[in-house]
């Protein structure tokens, strides 16, 4: 860890004023300190926002909910309103990290966590995400955790968040406060950039922007929600692939479907074309296979991740079977309920 100045922000204005490209916000710190210890991140100033008032609440917002940026992952997952109306979000959060980390990690921090590509994590390896233009040692390396969608020649990294995948399927928006105090809302695809030739630029946020909240719209009434995560052990591991689904059945047909995928792209991946293929159809395994086939039609950019195509395909079929009633739901597939 490089030496840095530590400051504790007392207000949002003060926090924003302290931020520039050489500074980092610290909240949960579970990923930032991890990376700082390895000198993958080397901020000169660390701005502690954990004591800012008002950012740790979950409050009604229209028909939906406003999740403060400092709400801990464990508190968010356990909130009765989330459990009842957005079970997918609880499930995704609870599939990530460990109990200890979820007690520390925040909503905002979870969104902004960095990739777990081992070449990004090792400063001895070339990485354009760490150092623009340095190249990508993961190309031709060992790449089990890498992405299969949305990559570029400069970067194969996948975004590791489970929470963000659920938020993508739930059409959440991120509330961002700019230095002048103005607020704007970004859909997740507006927040995250694809790597292109600048994989170091992961979001559209300015250095002095602060994420203040995540806004959940009203949940799809009467939907079944599912989060299924595949990993190299039963718990406490990042996703090889994950599937988030929100399905509303309408008289035996699929009335509405939202699907998002994790572990496979530099941001939570969503493909509207797939959802359109399902709309209005009667649940059918052959249809699900066709949808999954289309999702994974293109070869993986890296031979090491070729396995993710069949894995994602089969996981999606399994999730759709359960979410549409073709198969008995297993743990992770829940019917939404009215708020407690």
């Amino acid at each position: 860890m490089r030496a840095f100045d530590y400051t504790r922000a007392e207000s949002l204005d003060q926090a924003a004023a302290a931020l520039d490209p050489a500074a980092s916000v610290i909240a949960g710190g579970t990923n930032l300190l991890d990376l700082m210890k390895l000198q993958v991140m080397t901020p000169e100033r660390v701005v502690d926002i954990t004591r800012l008032p008002g950012l740790d609440a979950i409050e009604p917002e229209g028909e939906g909910l406003r999740l403060g940026a400092l709400v801990r992952n464990s508190d968010l997952a356990a909130d009765p309103r989330i459990r009842a109306r957005y079970p997918l979000l609880s499930r995704a959060l609870l599939s990530g990290a460990s109990g200890q980390i979820r007690n520390k990690a925040t909503t905002g921090g979870n969104l902004l966590q960095r990739t777990r590509c081992p070449y990004f994590y090792d400063p001895a390896m070339a990485c354009s995400k760490r150092e623009p233009g340095a190249g990508c040692a993961a190309q031709g390396g060992v790449g089990r955790m890498l992405a299969i969608f949305g990559t570029s020649d400069a970067c194969l990294a996948a975004h590791p968040s489970d929470m963000a995948v659920a938020l993508r399927a739930l059409d959440a928006e991120v509330e961002v406060r700019s230095r002048d105090g103005g607020l704007r809302r970004l859909a997740l695809d507006e927040l995250y950039r694809l790597p292109g030739d600048r994989p170091d630029l992961e979001t559209t946020l300015a250095a002095d922007d602060l994420i203040t909240a995540v806004i959940l719209p009203a949940p799809v009434a009467g939907s079944v929600q599912a989060y299924r995560k595949l990993r190299d052990r039963a718990s406490y591991a990042f996703a090889l692939v994950s599937v988030a689904a929100v399905i509303r059945m309408d008289q035996g047909r699929i009335g509405q479907a939202a699907l998002a995928f994790g572990g496979v792209a530099p941001r939570p991946w969503r493909d509207a074309g797939l959802e359109a293929m399902l709309h209005g159809k009667t649940p059918d395994e052959a249809l699900f296979r066709e949808v999954a086939q289309r999702l994974t039609a293109d070869p993986a950019p890296n031979p090491d991740t070729e396995f993710k195509r069949p894995l994602l395909r089969r996981t999606l079929v399994a999730v759709l079977r359960e979410a549409t009633g073709l198969a008995q739901p297993s743990i992770g597939t829940d019917a939404t309920k009215d708020a407690a």
Binding site: G29, T30, S98, G99, I331, K337
Partner: protein, 168 residues
Amino acid sequence: MQTTLTVNGHTRSVDHDPRTTLLDALRDSLRLTGTKKGCDHGQCGACTVLVNGRRINACLTLAAMHDGDEITTIEGLGEPGALSPLQQAFVSCDGYQCGFCTSGQIMSATGMLEELARGDPSHASPDLAQVSADDAEIAERMSGNLCRCAAYPFIREAISLGAKGERS
């Protein structure tokens, strides 16, 4: 810089580098070495302590961020001759081997049992609204604590036994 912590009920002042983690402050400044450093990156759980009653990895947080916080470490639970029911259960169930992850397992279990008592769900909960305390639940909730000696079945036996003792 100067940070004041309440550790196991005692107010302690620590003079430290801004980079010092809570873990290193506990171990090297306050010489409370029961909390272990197994990976320093939140990947093993050996450094688990309670901060204001919640279990966290002490390695992934800065001491400076905990000014005024209440910290509970393994030393705060009990000592030989006056072990807590959970500590005693680890002894009688052989819920350890080398002992290096043990403090973290016990602190994590302490925090975990509170979460369970509150009804917080886990990845293993069949119903998010109704949480039970079966072995699959405890196993999932304890998965942030690795044990390379692989005492897992006996750790969980100890947690079940100790939880009864803590309640009575």
